[in-house]
Amino acid sequence: MNKFKWFNAQNIEEALERTNATVSDAINRGSADSAIIKSGGIELLDFIKEGIIEPAEIINIKSIPGLEGIAFDRTAGLRIGANTTLADIENNGDIKLQYLALHQAVSKAATPQLRNVSTLGGNIAQRTRCWYFRSIDHPCFRKGGTTCFAQNGENQMHAIMNNGTCCSVHASSVATALLAYGATVEITSRGGQKKDVSIDDFFVNPFTDIRRESVLRRGEIITAVNIPAQGKNVKSWYIKQGERASFDWALADVAVVVELSGKRVRKAAIAMGAASPVPVRSKAAEEFITGKDINATTAAEAGQKAMENATPLAKNGYKVDLFKTIVKRALLESV
């Protein structure tokens, strides 16, 4: 690791004043003078250890009081501070009861040891685990290079949709659940301005801007994630399939949130991670299942619809089948 300075921020303003780069900035514009914000630090340390960034200063925001915690209110919904660890989310009773798919997604993320440290803010702001992107030896588009090695290379883990430019997939499986619940990300910027960004808008597709995966800019910080209250008849389920059951990144993951009227689906959100460069909802599947009962036939059909626009690459065609199956199963399990 390179030498860097350390700054314990006591408040958000202080942190935002000092920071001059996000990880994405540092990767693309050089990091010699960059001062980067760190919460849990897993992601940041990973990049530094790989030599992909060499920040001049780390601004520790773990030291900022009040940035962690979970508050649940039946009408206002759920608010999770950005510094809240995944372990605290996993162990929260309200979340287990009211936001089952989120609980499931969090408890399947990383390892227990990492969940004790990783924060929600860091988790959704993390960069793709594409093995080319993570390799200092592969100057890909996302690192300011001139090619996507995965397009014609080892793309077995990669995107099966929206994959024409860069076929990486977003790493956060927690985000898949947040997307299905219609969460918003609270971003605070210099001067204390806050904005709530819908999670749909939080992630950035590579064809929009290949050098970043979220709208987060320097001088901004995630302060919380808010999730609306879910009605009484809302059910949810999350399924993650990695190569290993013990701990792994998702080859495919699906979060389903359905609002029922009797047995009939009134509203559905079907979110897929590891399908596209950013987590996506399948409008086709959602529209199909809305107004219908969920049963083996309709669930399977919804799975088919979810993959209507799939454009698999040479080595990841199996992921299409995988998604069809887990969309189906998540729908069936949700009720």
Partner: protein, 211 residues
């Protein structure tokens, strides 16, 4: 210095430090305001003197019950600080990326990857390493069970396995096989001790019930 770890460690809070005061009672917006006010008030104080490093900085932490002062560059991980500065080499670095948990130590009562924790983040913290798990000469029941059930082979994953398992049993005395698998799901072993680790952990549950 080498003998420090043989001294008894002090009792640690089992659940670690949690700041559950967050947002409780106070309205959400209020908390946000408080933060911002703090920020404004603190702006003047945020002078250069608050920046530490990049050269060695002296930090304090409690390791295995003993208050220690060490000089570390901010880039030094907790694992390296323990191994190189305190000669506590029981903590092993294997993957160096948080994917194998061989470097597991308890940081404020919670098992974490010391290879992915900067020593700075352990400032004023309580750390327990494999060397500090036994109380004087009395092994932790998990350590005893690992010996009795041949749960070590090369032994390189063992410190991490033991620290993870011991933490589980301290917090969940009735742990079953599924709990054990969930707890050690991130701990890599290349020799294949897992079946014996399962046996040992289950035996330790019984042992701890009796004691």
């Amino acid at each position: 210095m080498q003998d420090d770890h043989q001294k008894p460690r002090q009792e640690l809070p089992k659940k670690g430090l949690s700041r559950r005061g967050f947002l409780k009672g106070a309205g959400l917006t209020t908390a946000g305001t408080v933060i911002l006010q703090g920020g404004i008030l603190g702006a003047e104080a945020a002078a250069v003197d608050k920046t530490l490093g990049p050269d060695a900085v002296t930090i304090q932490l409690k390791v295995n019950g003993i208050q220690r002062k060490i000089a570390v560059e901010p880039r030094i991980t907790l694992a390296d600080a323990l191994r190189d500065k305190l000669n506590l080499t029981g903590t092993k670095v294997v993957c160096d990326r948080g994917s194998c948990c061989a470097c597991t130590v308890w940081l404020n009562g919670k098992p974490v990857n010391s290879c992915m924790t900067l020593a700075m983040d352990a400032t004023d913290a309580e750390v327990v390493t494999i060397e500090g798990l036994a109380q004087e000469d009395k092994l932790h029941p998990v350590q005893e069970a690992f010996i009795d059930h041949d749960a070590t082979m090369c032994g390189f994953c063992t410190p991490g396995m033991v620290m993870t398992t011991a933490h589980l049993l301290e917090n969940k005395p009735n742990a079953n096989l599924d709990d054990i698998k969930h707890a050690i799901r991130g701990n890599a072993c290349r020799c294949g001790t897992h079946p014996k680790v399962f046996d040992a952990a289950l035996a330790a549950v019984q042992k701890m019930k009796k004691s």
